[in-house]
Symmetry: C2
Subunit: 418 residues, 2 copies
């Protein structure tokens, strides 16, 4: 079968399964999730064996150590995947939830009720654990999913997806609701993006180029996971110790992810005190500072920033630093360079906080908190498919509720339109 | 200037105005809406004069009378447009509304707050009054809009849009927030659909072919207004008088719109009683019935239905009628032929009502109520841009709230990620 036919047959099977899954009772979906967790535990040796094949190929291709680390599965990591599925089973079922109900003057009772989106295409370049997370979140929200992982993890992902689908079947839920495209050909992605008749949504997760390619080519609606060019603005009134804590956490907690800070904007009045304290702390953590001229005057050990640094998602222990005159300059800088994912201010001044949260437009704006907290789990929304930078449908962490749509249910006793 | 440059310059101007409009206080937006209403009233002679040019051209092109009727503006119709704008001014401002707020164990306070989508492209084939509605709804929700109406109403629309933008300017709000493409060239639509850098959303409104063309070509996210292939299922337990009322209203109240019923499904047990009563009522109203063989056995005056009738949006005084064995057959028929806009059941049986509302998937499912009630105003949501059949972002009537997105506002006192 050629790759287009293969992808189409899987998408069609998912569409058929979706109709059944949408009406599955919560209990059956939770049983499926728990069985998926058990399946992963039982098949750990086979999963690790498949992973070894991926690792060997990656090594011969000369991938860097950090890449190999992310690709590597262990007993512990497979158990984490299983644990994630058990956590998803414990989440409230979003399907059937009534969002609001009201009564009209003519006695009509109108409700908005959550229903699954249908079929979701998930195309990702990430580590193999994402396969289990995505399948679990889609199943819980009553959606069928067509998974297409990166070619480097193809053996691991194929094995994991097979175990998951088998587990779904075992409890009597529709196994076709979890489809995996086990052909690493890039044409498979293109084929998937051209099936609006079977897919309701495509979620891409990966590098900037990859996400752009998917967004531009897709005939299916896309929920984007764009890059995170994240700023923190340290206001004149900020508590220096707090500003150092928050910046340190936002930069060093996990520098390779989208909600890590990339550019620090500092009010000129606090710059001398704050930047010296920060440089000391971040120096210990091995962070390279790239500063504007005013920053360099305070921290001579910093490297001079170049123009492109303000638009670079370093995803590394590098922080661009700019001293600004006031909040207005900070907001202008963020409007020009921000990617709309997360933006933070550290301030003690209520008026500045209110202006920042109102005038800065991003999926999340934070006051006196680390941008690393922008995350489904941290927000209390449960596991997430990622963080959407789209403006439509879902903006910010995408959890099980964001994988649903609503329908209006209207109850009457013979009302007609006058 | 060529059409692509023209459209791009208007979209760019809208994008710049959007940033200002997003932060406009409610009072200023409402002043603008009231001034827009006054502007229409004051410039009625000029608007009617422009409309005469459109009408003359339409007549020489031999458009049918119904088309000319819809195109015609009168003093009364312009006053209706102004009244619509005053009603939009009276709506609650969706921008800044907090959807929900919660506190995390670490003391973080998280809110979801409504903000404008940004710039909306509205491409429509409808009557000129839609221009004022769309401009008003976008302005109220803090969005800039690029309007592109049908070529038949180009003179009327150009005049109306100019009056509206002038009125916005008069109160000191950003006049560039209302852009109108006054070039009837179809290439203007294509140009607009290729500006994802300036537009956040495109809403097409018009015939089936037109909406499909826009959806397929657009690189900007689309909120679809698809056709309405709407069913009513009359269950065995239905109150016959109620079923006749509801069906009559859904078919004859305004047959040319998307929420009018097109196919009637009738439980075999109630078919003899109900269909005779219905045929009598609808006969008086001049409705042509196209029946399945079992329908014809009861109502011999009906025309035999052909297979394509089950997939036809008549938009006319024609109703396809099919007798079915039970609810399951009705649901199967709806799944196969429905367009997902509105579906209704008439029943006295709670269990059937619950099954229908759960198992039928549409933007709106109704029990014992006319499908003509699926409408923003009837639902109490205020004026609408139309009724979305998309699953993402907004499903059903699209009012001012549906023209917004949300951002997370996170307030802390130094929280970091552990």
């Amino acid at each position: 079968m050629d790759i287009r036919e293969l992808v189409e047959s899987k998408a069609r099977a998912a569409r058929e399964a979706a109709a059944t899954l949408a009406l599955c009772p919560t209990r059956l979906k939770n049983e499926a999730l728990l069985q998926m967790a058990r399946g992963l535990a039982e098949k750990t040796p086979q999963i690790l064996e498949a992973n070894r094949v991926d690792l060997e190929r990656a090594r011969t291709r000369g991938h860097p150590r950090a890449f190999l680390d992310r690709l590597t599965l262990t007993d512990g990591r497979v158990e984490e995947m299983a644990h994630g599925l058990r956590q998803i089973a414990a989440l409230a079922d979003p399907v059937g939830k009534t969002v609001e109900t009201w009564r009209r003057p003519n006695g009509l009772e109108i409700s908005r009720v959550r229903v699954p989106l249908g079929v979701i295409g998930f195309v990702y370049e990430s580590r193999p654990n994402v396969t289990a997370d995505a399948a679990g979140l889609c199943l819980k929200s009553g959606n069928a999913v067509v998974l297409r992982g990166g070619s480097e993890a193809i053996e691991s992902n194929t094995m994991i997806a097979a175990v998951l689908a088998k587990s779904v079947e075992k409890v009597g839920a529709p196994a076709d609701a979890i489809q995996f495209i086990d052909n690493p050909d890039r044409a498979g992605v293109t084929a998937l993006l051209n099936l609006p008749q079977y897919l309701d949504l495509v979620i891409p997760r990966g590098g900037e180029e990859f996400v752009r390619m998917v967004s531009e080519r897709s005939r299916v609606p896309v929920l984007k996971h764009d890059k995170g060019l994240v700023h923190i603005f340290v206001d004149a009134s900020a508590d220096v110790a707090m500003a150092v804590e928050v910046t340190d956490n936002a930069k060093t907690h996990r520098p390779g992810v989208c909600n890590a800070v990339e550019t620090l904007l500092v009010h000129r009045d606090i710059a001398p005190r704050f930047l010296l304290a920060l440089a000391k702390r971040l120096g210990t953590a091995g962070v390279e500072l790239r500063g504007c001229p005013r920053t360099l005057a305070i921290v001579p050990t910093a490297r001079p920033a170049v123009e492109t640094d303000w638009d670079t998602e370093f995803l590394d222990l590098i922080l661009a630093v700019k001293v600004v005159d006031d909040l207005d300059e900070a907001i202008r800088h963020i409007r020009r360079h921000g990617s709309g994912l997360a933006e933070a201010i550290v301030t003690a001044d209520l008026r500045q906080a209110r202006r920042f949260t109102r005038e800065v437009d991003a999926a999340a704006v934070l006051v006196n908190a680390s941008t690393r907290l922008v995350d489904g789990n941290q927000f209390g929304m449960g596991a997430e498919m990622g963080i959407s930078t789209s403006r439509l449908h879902a903006r910010g962490p995408v959890g099980v509720e964001e994988l649903t749509t609503t329908k209006f249910v209207v109850l009457g006793d013979g009302q007609v339109r006058e």
